[in-house]
Amino acid sequence: MDMDDTSEQQQVAFAMHTFERIHHTEFQRRFLSQNTRHDGRAFSQFRATHVTKGTVSTAQGSSTVRIGNTTVVCGIKAEVSEPDVKTPNEGYLVTNVELSPMCSARFRPGAPSDEAQVASEHIHRLFGKAVDLATLCIESGQAVWSLSADIVCLKYDGNILDTAILALVAALEDLRLPEAQLDSATGVVSADRTIARQLTLRKRLFPATFALVDTYLVADADDAEEQLATTSVLVVLDDSGRLANIWKRGACPVSNETIHQCIESAVERAETISKTL
């Protein structure tokens, strides 16, 4: 009897996988119509989120963040450069997201994909005000810190924006800037890593992404769900619960209530995530 049971289970599993491959959309819809998702989550449930700081010793600040299967590493290299003439007291924060062909067959080798470019640009704008760039000044008009934050995706399974933003916040909190001095005679900047200071973030950012699949609003969509989503809404809150950013993408119009629902869930998410970060 046991033998029959297992073979029957195997047949069901086989039929399910075949169905998923052939009718991907219908496969997902069947779950959604039953008020559940293909990985067993509730609509408003985010995947398990893990944040580890200080994972790369060759970077001055680093973190690894996992949201479900999606894994990114963020490393910040601190270098010295000349400030811009218009802003002689301000340093630089340069953020780039790298989606290499290693993390998913969706991405090709060579130039960054559209998705990577959009993510890089959006995160760059989002963090423009999060860090007080004046604290990166070494000598006004002559030398400032330039922080290059590179977010490398190791494993891609949807919701790259949430993962990348969390990774960058964690890496910035992990960053230790050495005490630096400019020798005006030689123009050399010397730094002492034994006296390192932490960077003060103006605000910590807590992202939450929601996707609209048919008429269902799902939180933290994975790759399979993202492919079917008509719209996605990114809500970013800061630590005092104020809205830092809302970004609704996709051509499908959504109602006010949906946006409200997203913000409410994002507030809840921010509370839980602030404990793990």
Partner: protein, 270 residues
């Protein structure tokens, strides 16, 4: 070398940036009276950690997940590799499959200056080395018209030659995980010559002060060398000795790899 090439597809930083002069770098010598700074003996390798299948997407089927993957650590070196294929490729040889390798350092993976996004000549060279070191082990004739791609990302490096060797071991594990037919697992190990003594598996600080570095990749059961690269000056008999010692070290790496792979076959990952 100008590191910052303006690239409108990325967020660009200042046109020029340099590392500050670190004053806290005392003169800690990697070799002090015959011993190594990290306390290893001269022929001792750094501890190895392997995991196959870290990039497999669980629990459902994903058309974009790689067919095999591996994560490899050796001391501070950390490498992740994904293998796609056999799949349809641009090149199509009706008699043999092709094996392509793509190698990249993460921008923050080196202990010196940040690496630019644009791939450097050294990364392309290493990609070619990896391709040529691995290809003899793959039964390419079993995959006519198909393409096997390996993508390697270095998350953290510690010694150039040691990183190349680690990448070879990582690809080996990933190819095995993908179920690609292999003649043998390729195992690699590096060595550097310091004060006429050969030192195994050198880190960056040790490689920097060495007069010569080499690495050997081997298929131990067939007792065949697939790749051998030396940089720096030695006497021929010194190199002879190094290849011999490296081969023994490869056998040790091989033992670790095959023991892990065997265990992972018997006990599927949870």
């Amino acid at each position: 070398m100008s590191a910052n090439i303006f690239d409108r597809r990325r967020v660009n930083g200042p046109p020029r940036s340099v590392e500050p002069l670190y004053t806290d770098e005392g003169d800690v010598k990697p070799f002090t009276n015959g011993g190594r700074a990290d306390g290893r003996s001269l022929d001792q390798l750094r501890p190895i950690f392997i995991k196959t299948g870290p990039l497999a997407v669980q629990p459902t089927f994903s058309p974009t997940a790689p067919s095999g993957s591996a994560y490899y650590e050796q001391g501070k070196i950390r490498i992740s590799c994904a293998v796609y294929g056999p799949r349809q490729g641009r090149k199509s040889n009706p008699r043999m499959g092709s094996f392509d390798c793509d190698f990249q350092y993460a921008p923050f993976s080196c202990s010196w200056k940040r690496r630019p996004h644009i791939k450097g000549a050294d990364e392309k060279e290493i990609a070619l080395i990896l391709e040529q070191a691995m290809a003899p082990a793959i039964r390419l004739e079993a995959y006519p018209k198909a393409c096997i791609d390996a993508f390697v990302t270095v998350i953290e490096s510690d010694g150039k030659f040691a990183t190349i060797s680690a990448a070879i071991n990582c690809i080996s594990a990933a190819l095995a995980d993908a179920g690609i037919e292999l003649y043998d697992i390729v195992a690699a190990c590096s060595m550097s010559l310091n004060a006429s003594q050969w030192v195994s598996d050198c880190n960056q600080a040790e490689e920097d002060v060495s007069q010569c570095s080499l690495f050997v990749s081997r298929m131990p059961s067939a007792d065949e060398i697939t790749y051998l690269l030396q940089q720096g000056k030695t006497m021929p008999d010194q190199t002879d000795r190094a290849v011999q010692t490296c081969s023994n070290s490869c056998a040790r790496v091989y033992a670790v790899l095959s023991r892990y792979l065997q265990a992972s076959m018997e006990q599927p990952a949870s």
